[in-house]
Amino acid sequence: MLRASPEQALPNPIPGGLDLLGNGHIFHVYLPGTAPELSTITDFNGALGATEVLGSWSGGGITPTADTPLVFDADMRFMAGEYIGTDGRHHQGTFAFV
């Protein structure tokens, strides 16, 4: 099984997406709840995992107040399997949406 690497052709992005800034520019991503499509790559056939996770964090010299914890919100996904790259060829690869 080949691994996607800088030397291997990347996939193409999904054709649609969201106008996240409201200025007409389409970002090739859908957020959970906005569409069933959670892959960011197209011509893809494989495993997909997606989650939105909330938790706490610390660091950076920031001291939170007692009643206001520092909260993180992370949209994390993976795609692992077959795809057609920008070179038009079939590849196997593993990708993370971070």
Binding site: P11, P36, E52, V53, L54, V98
Partner: protein, 142 residues
């Protein structure tokens, strides 16, 4: 009652990928970074020392504004789930079979001489989580 959603008006850090590879915040990772059992929903994504940027807030990130270099390591675990569902969406051209489950995450980041660390993984919780098999694009019709 779950954890309150973050208030993005008070956001102080936004760690995202900065590379312009034609994909939206998506990069190739080592094959071994992902372990997955699509049938049960159990999966993990473990990545170490990924080059990122701290854009401070998401609007600045989407505009590819000023940022600090950052290095991130993280691990996410999806638990087995019981609720299976199929989806077919002609509008976006995708179909798949998924397990709705839950996930937890731990991470660490170094940026601009500062260290940032999530709480223990077991203290995190997922708003949504799913694992399965998907096909889209040219594979959607098959």
């Amino acid at each position: 009652m779950g954890r309150p959603a973050p208030d993005f008006r008070n956001q102080v850090h936004d760690f995202n990928l900065a590379i312009d590879n034609g994909l939206f915040w998506t990069v190739p990772v080592d094959r071994d970074s992902v372990k997955v059992e699509p049938g049960s929903g159990r999966a993990s994504l473990v990545v170490n020392n990924l080059a990122m940027e701290d854009y401070f807030n998401i609007v600045n990130a989407l505009n590819d504004g000023t940022s600090n270099r950052a290095t991130a390591s993280f691990e996410i675990h999806w638990a087995p789930g019981m609720k299976r569902f199929k989806v077919r969406d002609d509008a976006t051209g995708m179909a798949g079979e998924f397990v709705k489950n839950s996930a937890t995450m731990a991470w660490s980041v170094e940026s601009a001489g500062q260290a940032y660390l999530s709480g223990p993984e077991e203290t995190s919780s997922s708003v949504s989580a799913q694992v399965g098999h998907e096909r889209n694009g040219v594979f959607f019709a098959h």
